[in-house]
């Protein structure tokens, strides 16, 4: 059982302008002539299939499920009219909404589990004991007044403590706190302070306060639901990147870039996302010995990373995160002259920070 029939595959290629002249004649002949063929209600006819193929190409693009070749053809041959671009924007919005919805569902599920566990343990106490306990707690009646006063004072205190800060600020504080001792990735994420990167722990490194990170993620999702801004999208994108949720990071940063296409930091962080995706695909390939199409796809990721990082630098030549990541990318892909050049440029701009020490170490190693 396949999702796409041979007709669907042909129509996808036709829409992407990736067919021979003969295939084009065949498709267009069927589009104009197949209408008289009776089809079952559930069976789409050829024109329906064309419209489905168009929708599904857009969906697959929004879901990041197109191959690199299809993506290039999509951009150059397919998404050329405003209606298709509009449909793509809606599809990307739905993808982001679906991810946010699922995050909230999973958080609610976790909370319900915690609540039900608490209820189960309370259920073990007998009713008589509960009544006696309540009696001692609330009588004589002056105790109720004291409790009410304490509760009110505490409530006010907590409200002042938390309500004075917007969700975005609270989330940012939580995140910076968690990543203040060590950082999760070797690349630089914009706005994150320096923290060491323990290379030896490799991919399985842990030790981050995931409860605080979950909480921060929830704050950001709440904030986005209340008032979606590029700043919040960017913060969530950075968090997804740090938590290695690369697809989600890519989606949300792309969304933010649609609103602010000339935001250098957004380009730098999206470049970092593609760098990490490329790096993982490259490692997986070298482990399994795959080649061919995966090679092209992986090269595409690397190229997209370079494009975004250089775009960031063209918009803001002093953006250290972008320069650092570009140097690291060249170093990782063994492009030594380019890596040396970028590290040297980095050190000219940032000669004395802890990041500079790492840059210097890398420079010495390459020399």
């Amino acid at each position: 059982m396949n999702w796409y029939s041979e007709d669907d595959k042909l129509l996808r290629r036709y829409l992407l302008n990736d067919v021979t002249a003969e295939e084009r004649r065949l498709v267009e002949g069927r589009l104009l002539n197949d209408g008289d063929v009776q089809t079952a209600e559930e069976e789409p006819d050829f024109v329906d299939r064309l419209l489905l193929a168009e929708d599904e190409l857009i969906d697959d693009h929004a879901l990041g499920a197109l191959s690199e070749r299809e993506r290039v053809l999509f951009d150059s041959n397919f998404a050329i009219n405003s209606e298709r671009r509009q449909k793509l924007i809606i599809a990307e919005g739905v993808v982001a909404q679906a991810a946010a919805d699922m995050e909230l569902r999973s958080l609610n599920r976790d909370r319900e589990q915690v609540d039900s566990q608490a209820e189960r343990s309370e259920g073990d106490t007998s009713i008589d004991v509960k009544i006696e306990w309540l009696h001692r707690l609330f009588f004589p009646s002056w105790k109720i007044v004291v409790y009410a006063t304490i509760t009110l004072a505490l409530g006010l205190g907590i409200w002042r403590l938390f309500k004075s800060e917007p969700d975005l600020v609270r989330a940012r504080k939580e995140i910076r706190q968690v990543y203040s001792f060590k950082r999760p990735l070797e690349i630089r994420i914009s706005g994150y302070e320096y923290a060491m990167f323990p290379k030896t722990l490799g991919e399985e490194q842990g030790g981050f306060d995931y409860v605080a990170l979950d909480r921060a993620e929830r704050f950001l999702l709440d904030e986005l639901a209340k008032q979606p801004t590029v700043e919040t999208q960017h913060e969530l994108g950075r968090l997804y990147l740090a938590r290695k949720k690369f697809d989600q990071a890519e989606a949300i940063l792309q969304l933010a870039l649609q609103a602010e296409p000339n935001n250098a930091s957004l380009h730098a962080d999206l470049g970092a996302v593609f760098f990490e995706k490329w790096e993982r695909q490259r490692s997986a390939r070298s482990t399994s010995g795959q080649s061919g199409e995966q090679n092209t796809e992986s090269d595409g990721l690397k190229q997209r990373s370079i494009n975004h990082l250089t775009k960031a630098l063209s918009l803001d030549g002093s953006l250290r995160e972008a320069r650092f990541n570009l140097a690291l990318l060249y170093q990782t892909s063994n492009q030594i002259p380019q890596a040396l050049e970028e590290w040297e440029k980095y050190l000219k701009d940032d000669p004395a920070s802890p990041w500079a020490e790492e840059a210097e170490r890398n420079l010495r190693m390459l020399k």
């Binding site: 036709y14 329906d48 168009e54 929708d55 697959d60 990041g64």
Partner: protein
């Protein structure tokens, strides 16, 4: 085969403009005229299959709109003619359906009350608010299916969609057609919502 004046009946364009339009359909003049006739017939069938009583009028609406777009814009930006024109047919059908209140359980978007937008609300914010409001208008089960369909997965997308169809008791084709209907509904709703926001 019909002559050029016969083909141009009910079209508000000059002969020269009409020839350019035919040339867009097919560079070979003779085939282009045939293609035009076949296309018109195919559009009528498209609307008849969707139980539209005024199928001929609707197909003329489609062709007039296509010609108007063609004359106003660079043809290269419209893309391939047949997909472009069938795309217009789809919009015309959706608008036709929206005029018929609550047909087949569809929602009359014009009657919905959307959130209030202040003047400072950006286009992106409006789109986002409209998207959420419109998702909220879908039936619970449809919304659940819709969002699950758009959920990014680590597994192969085809396999995930096939499992999703099974989970909702649908065949692959039924799920694909249902998704197409839901997408159309959502797009109509978002367009209406955005128009109201801009008004």
């Amino acid at each position: 085969m019909k002559s050029l004046p016969e083909l141009m009946k009910n079209r508000s364009m000059t002969e020269e403009e009409f020839k350019r339009f035919l040339n867009w359909l097919d560079v070979d003049r003779e085939f282009a005229a045939q293609t035009y006739e076949k296309l018109r017939r195919r559009l009528i069938v498209y609307f008849i299959k969707r139980q539209c009583s005024a199928a001929e009028d609707l197909s003329d609406t489609v062709l007039n709109a296509a010609m108007e777009h063609f004359l106003k814009q660079n043809a290269l930006l419209l893309g391939q003619p047949l997909p472009y024109i069938f795309g217009i047919a789809r919009n015309v059908y959706r608008q036709h359906l929206n005029k018929q209140i609550s047909l087949d359980g569809d929602v009359d978007w014009q009657r919905l009350s959307f959130p209030d937008f202040s003047e400072e609300t950006s286009e992106k914010e409006r789109r986002s608010v409209c998207l959420r409001a419109c998702l909220g208008e879908l039936k619970d089960q449809d919304r659940q299916l819709f969002l699950l369909y758009y959920l990014k997965k680590n597994e192969a997308l085809d396999e995930y969609r096939i499992r999703l169809a099974a989970q909702f008791g649908l065949t692959i084709n039924a799920l694909r057609l249902k998704m197409m209907r839901l997408r159309d509904q959502l797009r109509s709703c978002i367009t209406t919502c955005q128009q109201k926001a801009e008004a």
